[in-house]
Symmetry: C2
Subunit: 376 residues, 2 copies
């Protein structure tokens, strides 16, 4: 298959400028639309083996290959790779950086050709549906018609739901993991804390920090720290750190990181700012907060799925308090009301929301079984 | 009763300089020890009707009287006042600003006489036990020997536990509400986010912002916003705000506060910085994170209460995820193991941790019954 107008800028993965502007939910269009993406495996002759992986808030297209900045392995090598449920030997796997992000797709850090400078806060506010429409254009470009499956966790799961609702005829099956059909008041509240932390940092400079030599790293680190707490369970934090002190083994009676959990959180904040753009964090959290699939369909979630022939698999984790099982149940009830084929399981894990990224063998079994059912 | 060496500085409530230095858990002493406090009612002839109210992280001595800065009513007028369970007609009620705070008691914002400038970060790191020892010195000063009761919620409840453990012969009964006997990893994590937000604010200036015309207001507001989420239940936030938009009634596709919950949180942050000192927030959160009553007693919580004759009442709220019922149960189990007289109740409330400050009639009935049992 020919892949036109590719380039390898920034040492990132593959990148394409889509041939058309993207109409946006907020009005107007985004143009040009650049998409950074990765693929693994080969599309088969009848084009029936394509699987799209959708990533979470701070994720990227490097689902199963080394991250070009951190040098770390792909973020979902437990799920995607040789011998894994999603296997390049059987599947043509596509993972695209969402628009608004900073790993090759159009976002606030990319150049607006109209001005020759980064978009910064002139980048349009986007929605999860906008992200998904951009992914559909990428698949057009790659010659993928119908997807065997779309699979994602957290914000990835929200995109999966948008895929099923927006392009029902292009997806045979979807897997929604640790996710929700809308952002709750508490979800919005935590994101707002993060945004305020970034915008309170004087180095944010109204978003125009590109090229100034300063970035709102301190604010972004605080945002990441606050968010990171919501990704872990209280019991998991207790098990992992409890009240254990750092190596110095005694309280300092000062403000150093005495407790291991403090040091861990600080590290999470500091390492995050090396790989992520603060403005992208603003835009993507905003898109998530705007997400309410029912609202987009007349206020009734079941309307989003009426008459669908897509098969659904919904997975939640019992210790996930960010998108608790009740949110998954709400999705399942709507799917039932819409007469959709749906299987649902709440898995037990000590890891909280992050469980979808971690070693939960049962998750792999569930996804493997669900994917293979479509192949037999 | 004569009240020596009082003054009315800063337009605050009553204030006293204690006659002796305060030895601190971290080593060294605090001197001078100034205490801002309020009293209501009159100590009876046999001195048997004194009740100490202990306040929470950002609370103060104005438990039942108007706050001198905000002009708002006292923070616990539902519990303390005429016709309330704690009633100045029957009780001599004392409430003192904790040391480390900023409402008249010695803290980082007060003047270190040795230098003539505010302590700032040279103020010693204190513990909850230090706070309680200072309160005991205040009671000495006020001529109060044994307390009929010590009552407090949240960090107030932790001080109550310290009172029972440190001065068992001075307290006939205690009420511990929505609290815990130690700070969990998640509790520490949220506090650390707040501290990092403050210290990341360039206006913090290493804590030496007094008199510079700048304060780390932005960082402190972010800290408050993050903490405030933990004070409310997810269901309470959903009920109060859900995904309702602000008056403009449509998404802005921008970064204004579109959702009511965003606007509410921003208001919580902004109004907090008008009444609270950022360095005090650092010191008091640190004291709370250091709190582990079992650790102070050989690693076994029951040891803290061995042989006590104090009566205990422990109250938790079913939607409190900051100090969940499991933490209260841990206290009750230790009290049972120590052979203490304890009554325990988990109350139902939609308000999360903040329930102890809000309209929960059942809480008033529980406290009223428990207090009166001592008076009959």
């Amino acid at each position: 298959m020919s892949i036109p107008s590719e380039d390898q800028r920034f040492g990132l993965a593959r990148r394409v400028t889509l041939p058309r502007p993207l109409p946006l939910d907020g009005g107007g269009v985004l143009t040009p639309v650049e998409i950074g993406y990765e693929t693994y495996g080969t599309l088969n002759a009848d084009g029936s083996n394509a699987i799209l992986i959708t990533h979470a808030l701070t994720g990227d297209q490097h689902v199963a290959s080394v991250h070009p900045i951190t040098g770390k392995p792909g973020w979902w090598t437990r799920m995607v790779g040789p011998g894994r449920p999603i296997d390049p030997a059987r599947h043509f796997i596509v993972c695209a950086n969402v628009i608004g992000s900073c790993m090759g797709s159009s976002g606030p850090a990319t150049i607006d050709p109209a001005t020759g400078t980064p978009w910064a806060m002139r980048f349009p506010v986007i929605t999860l549906r906008d992200m998904v429409r951009a992914q559909a254009m990428l698949l057009d470009h790659l010659g993928v018609g119908t997807l065997q499956a779309v699979i994602g966790g957290s914000m990835g799961g929200m995109q999966v739901l948008e895929w099923a609702a927006t392009f029902p005829d292009r997806v045979r099956s979807v897997v929604v993991i640790a996710s929700a059909a809308r952002h709750s008041a508490q979800n919005i509240a935590f994101h707002e804390v993060g945004r305020q932390a970034i915008m309170a940092d004087p180095n944010w400079q109204g978003g125009c920090y590109y090229g100034t030599g300063d970035t709102p790293a301190a604010g972004l680190a605080v945002a990441r720290m606050a968010a990171h707490i919501t990704y872990l369970s209280e019991a998991g934090l207790t098990e992992k750190f409890g009240r254990r002190l750092q190596a110095r083994d005694a309280k300092s009676f000062g403000f150093d990181a005495d407790f291991q959990v403090e040091s861990y959180l600080r590290h999470q904040g500091i390492s995050f700012v090396e790989r992520f753009d603060a403005n992208s964090y603003l835009y993507i959290t905003r898109a998530m907060d705007y997400f309410d699939l029912a609202e987009e369909h007349g206020g009734r979630l079941a309307n989003a799925f009426q008459g669908t022939r897509t098969r659904f698999c919904v997975v939640s984790f019992d210790t996930d308090w960010l998108y608790p099982t009740a949110e998954s149940r709400m999705i399942v009830h709507a799917l039932n009301a819409a007469g959709a084929a749906v299987s649902f399981v709440e898995l037990s894990s000590p890891f909280g929301h992050d469980a979808f990224l971690l070693d939960v063998p049962e998750l792999n079994r569930v996804v493997d079984g669900f994917i293979r059912a479509d192949e037999s």
